[in-house]
Symmetry: C2
Subunit: 122 residues, 2 copies
DNA sequence: GTTATATGTGACGATTAGGTCACATATGAA
DNA sequence: TTCATATGTGACCTAATCGTCACATATAAC
């Protein structure tokens, strides 16, 4: 029961992060911000769609805590914050790596079979 | 330029996985499947919405490679496949952990400031 | 002050996604 | 064969999401 409660809490807390990471444009933004921090305008120049759309994406990333804003005069510098991604890893990715070996074998067999099935369908 | 091409390819290939992970119901499904493999019906019993909705979710998870299906007579056993999640980690999570120390300090300062700002707004 | 630049807001439209429904198919057991 | 059970398909509705537009605000430089 404790585990269930923990799961549920994590799901809700991480929800904004997952939503933010779900969009390819936003992932590309994070990739750009990973190299160096940028102002909103500088970031918008990298995308085909309008600056307003970029701002919306940044707002979503900020809400998720993935982007932190530093005001510098009339500019707005967007920094990438890696912490939420690390938390996602600890709560979601790592547990999925720790499956028992017998299950992994069985899953691998199922993957093989489904691959064969897909190929025979062609 | 090589790096850019690699990024782009990764983004597109992982796109289905991200989409699949974006929904909280699907994440809960993966959590259930992590404990043990289940038939579609058994899985559907855990959710408030209909079995058909569960099937749609399973289809999306399957398209992303996160769920592998094993036919067993008239039953359909859904296995969790951890491989795509591991790939997500390698291509997306780990690079974000490797930021240089000076940038991390600066980002941390920005996080602090934005937190102060948020608190003063209350 | 005036003006140019950088960022923010509100309303709107098109597309997609999550969900339900009624109905169809396939397998195991009697 | 007959019937119950497990899974699959097509059309539909609703709500959220991504993008645009016109307009508003704030700061730096002159």
């Amino acid at each position: 029961m404790n585990e269930k409660a923990r799961e549920r809490a994590c799901t809700e807390r991480d929800s904004w992060v997952w939503r933010a990471l779900g969009d390819p444009s936003r992932r590309r933004m994070l990739d750009l911000l990973r190299r160096r921090s940028r102002t909103t305008g500088s970031l918008a120049a990298e995308f085909d769609f309008t600056r307003f759309a970029v701002m919306k994406h940044l707002k979503i990333l900020e809400r998720a805590g993935l982007v932190v804003v530093e005001r510098r005069g009339r500019e707005r510098v967007n920094h990438l914050n890696p912490v939420p991604i690390q938390e996602i890893y600890r709560r979601w990715i790592r547990p999925f790596e720790a499956l028992p070996a017998d299950r992994l074998l069985r899953i691998r067999a199922a993957v093989e079979k489904s691959r064969e099935r897909q190929e025979s369908e062609r």
